[in-house]
Every structure is written in C-alpha cells, then in structure tokens.
Subunit: 204 residues, 3 copies
Amino acid sequence: MTVVEIVDILGTVAFAISGASAAMRRKLDPFGVIIVSFATAAGGGTIRDVLVGIEPVSWMTNPNLIYTILISVFISFLFRRYLVKISKTLFLFDAIGIGLYTVVGVEIGITAGLPPLICVTLGCITACFGGVLRDVLLNKIPVLFRRNIYATACIIGGFMYFGLKKLGVPPAWTFPSAAITVILIRLLAVTYKIELPSPYKVKS
Amino acid sequence: MTVVEIVDILGTVAFAISGASAAMRRKLDPFGVIIVSFATAAGGGTIRDVLVGIEPVSWMTNPNLIYTILISVFISFLFRRYLVKISKTLFLFDAIGIGLYTVVGVEIGITAGLPPLICVTLGCITACFGGVLRDVLLNKIPVLFRRNIYATACIIGGFMYFGLKKLGVPPAWTFPSAAITVILIRLLAVTYKIELPSPYKVKS
Amino acid sequence: MTVVEIVDILGTVAFAISGASAAMRRKLDPFGVIIVSFATAAGGGTIRDVLVGIEPVSWMTNPNLIYTILISVFISFLFRRYLVKISKTLFLFDAIGIGLYTVVGVEIGITAGLPPLICVTLGCITACFGGVLRDVLLNKIPVLFRRNIYATACIIGGFMYFGLKKLGVPPAWTFPSAAITVILIRLLAVTYKIELPSPYKVKS
C-alpha cells in the first residue's frame, strides 16, 4: 500500500465521519446515517463520474471505498460521544481529504482531454460536492456556500496541479505539491480566520 | 400481460399516488404534482440507470411508465378526498412496489457484472431513492432516513435474490421469493412496530 | 455570430443573473453565488445530458457558457443594488431563455431518436430544471411547482416544435416559431395573470 493510498483512505474516513456525525446530530436512524455518510464521502466523485461519463461510477468497481465508509460509520456510532473532542483531528483529515480529492478530480479531467477550466472545476466538484449533497439531504443550505476559502483552496491547488503538469514536472512531484498546497491554504485560512471580502455591507 | 407486469404497474401506481398526495398536501400546482409524482415513481430507477450508465434512462424508452404515472396523478386529483381512507391499500401497494423494484435493481447490477454488495445497493437505490427525491423536492429530511425497516427489508431481500441466483435456483423462483420476502418483512415490521435499535439514548 | 447565438447568450445571462440574485438575497459568499448561478443557468441542460447519455455534458466542451456565467455573476455583484429596478428586463430575458432552451432540449431528444412525449419532456427539463436545482440548493420548495404557466408554456411550445418538424416545415421556421410561442405564452400569462385552475378549494 502506497503513501497516497493510505492518505486517500484517511481522507475518505474524514469525510465519512463528518457525514455520520452531521446525520447523528439530526437523529437519523442507522440506515439514514449510512446513506448520508456515503453521500458525503463518495458524492463528489460520483457527480464527477456522471458528468464526465465514467459509468459504472468509480465506487461500483471499488468496494474498498464502501467498506472504508461502513467501518467509519460503525466507529462513529461507537465513539459518538467523543467525536466533538477529536474535532481538530477530523478537521485535519478533512483538509487532507479535499487536497487529495481535488488532485484526483483534476487528473480525471486531464485524462478525459477536457479544457483547463473544466479540469479544475472537476477537482472542486470532487472535493466539495459530497458536502453539498450531505447538506441538501439534511435539508440545510450547503455550508460550503458560506465558507469560501474551502473551495478557493481547491481552485488554487487545481490550477497549480494543471500548470505544473503542463510545465513537464514529473507526477511524483505534481501530485503531492498540489495536494499539500490545498491542505496548507485550508489550514492557514482557518487558523488565521482568513475570509474572502464579503460583498454584503449590511450585516446578516 | 404477465403477473409480474401487472404487479409492477401496481407498484408504480402506489409510488405515483404516494408522490401525488405528498405534493397535494403541500398545495403544489398541477404541474408540480406531476413532477413530484414522477420523481417518486421513476426517480430510484433513474438514479440507478445514471450510476450504472444505462442511457437514455429506462423511462425514456418505455412511455408506458409515463402514461401509468400520468393516469395515477389524474386519479389522485379526482379522489384526493378519499386518499386517506384507502391508506392501508396504498401501504400494501407501496410494499409490493419496493419488493419488485429491489429485485429489478439487483438483477440490473448482476447483468452489468457488478460485485454482490453493489448489486444489493442498486436494489435499494431503485426501491428507496424515489422517496428520497420526493422529500428533497418538498424540502423535507427524507422520511426513509428515519424509518429503517424500509431499507432493511430491501437489503435482506436483495442479498436473498443474489444468493438464490448464485445457488442456481431458476428465475421463476428467485424473483417472486425475494420480492415476497421484502414485502413480508415490510408488512410484519409495520404491523408489529418492529424497529432497529436506536443509537440515541436521549429521546428526540 | 448568428441571431440565435446572441439570443441564446441573452437567455443564459438571464438565468445566471436570476440565480446570482437569489443567492445574494440569501447572503451566500462569492463562491456560493457562482455555484448557484451556474446551477440555474446550466443545470437544466446538464440533467438533460445525463439522462440522455451525452457525456461529458455540454458545458464541459463549451467553455463559452462558463465565461458567460462568470461575467454575469460579476456584473450581478457590481450592480446588485439595481437588480430590482431592471426586474422587468430580467423577466423578459428569462422568458427568452425558456423559449430557446425548450427548443434546444426537444431537438436533442429528436436527434437521439426518442418518442415525442420524451422529447417534449426533455425540452421542459432543459428550460425548467435549472430553476428547480437553484431552489433545492437554496433550501426552498421549487417555485416552478407553484407557477404553472411557466412549464405549460414549454410543453405547448415543445409539442408545436415537434409537430411542425414532422410536418416538414424547414428548420429556419420551426425553431423561431416554437421559441416565440413559448415566450409569448409566458409574457401573456404574466401580463394578464392567467393561471391553471387550482385543484384546491380550501385556500392556502
């Protein structure tokens, strides 16, 4: 198992736990928790696959993803009282998750021969739309729409990956450097509470 | 017309009426009622087809499904005062519907050569996600997420169908026995108010 | 650039501004405004493409659509104080948009060899489902479900396009006459407050 695979699993675990704990806060039954957790962890990639035309979608031919999510849900149930206490760890996993998912999405766009802007869009969809799906299923306005350095980090990292690859930098360098860029931007934005300038003068 | 086709139409009718009556309770206009009814009856199969890559999706090449839904909506309008009174009949139709839709979904997964867990997941999506779509469109948390013997029945029946087929039981037996299992579990769960154990100690 | 292309861009602009202003009323951050605007302008066509199996979906191979939307969002930001004042202009653009989108959707169904009812359904999906997606993302019951002459105009125009084409009328006539029919029905319905008869006797 490579480093990327291990870190990829950590990202999936983080998304799955994020979905499961949001669902448990809404008192969903076990089956509902599994669906919301699954939508959070696999939803972004699923939407990407459908838009590009990769069908059956990735998780159908990769049951390891499903097992990872099911185990994450089970662990979330067992330790649901402690999820708040490890929220900083989960936040780190989540940042790792969006870093990796962004790069995977951009790469799939490149493989499909799509233009740069579309590739970066696919990276963002992969990283961010699982969370959008989670919030729609839980009947909330997606938190992503109000937390902009999240998607901004993916956009910057996505363009960086695309640019490095076009410059001929070998894959062993492009993948980690773009993913780490996304992760660092996200960590710095939250640590120092950096936000995009608000377009609204009247406070809500 | 075979027995399966007749029962299949009954299932579609039940889902369509369920969607139409939920939409009428929210005072949607006629067109809104048709869309929600259609999403309830055809939504699960549509999501399944898109995920597997069966495109154009099934209902596009099978207008009978559309006519069945349109007639069901029309009947729901005419008899909207009496829909409450026949709620037990509708519940039975709904149980028949999820039984049949589960088996159809599993079979499509098998035909596409997908692994067992994925086939059963497709059966659940076919049977349950029309209702999820209905609730998202009506701006509610999906009732499925809080009514777990619904999906549980589909999962058990789905694995049973898969298992019987692998054991070499002829189709004339696998299809009805798995569908009837789903239907019976659902009927028994509601009749005797059986629920999965709740993971929440604090009552909501 | 042909007249149709110019009018098509006007339609996209209208939908994009409609999405952006709905998102700004909900105080979304800039990135959220872009996503909701994009979903409103490109969502109907994306759902149509996925259901029919045109993948990668149209906007992935047509970055002009993306640039048009991004510029529309930017303009909406700059002139957000004045959007209310030009609401009649926007309404006209929106009517033009659904007229054109309907015809494009029906034509794609005909090209895919689908039956008449399905072609008209695809026209409606193209014209109307961007707005449905916008409302689901903003956590509201789709306004379309309560404003029925909107979809009704698309259905009438859709069948008209299909009929004229079957009668052998040349494309130079079918396209504009069906689109203008949709636009006129929509304008007349709003001007004279025409509605479908309500099925609800009790007022809501």
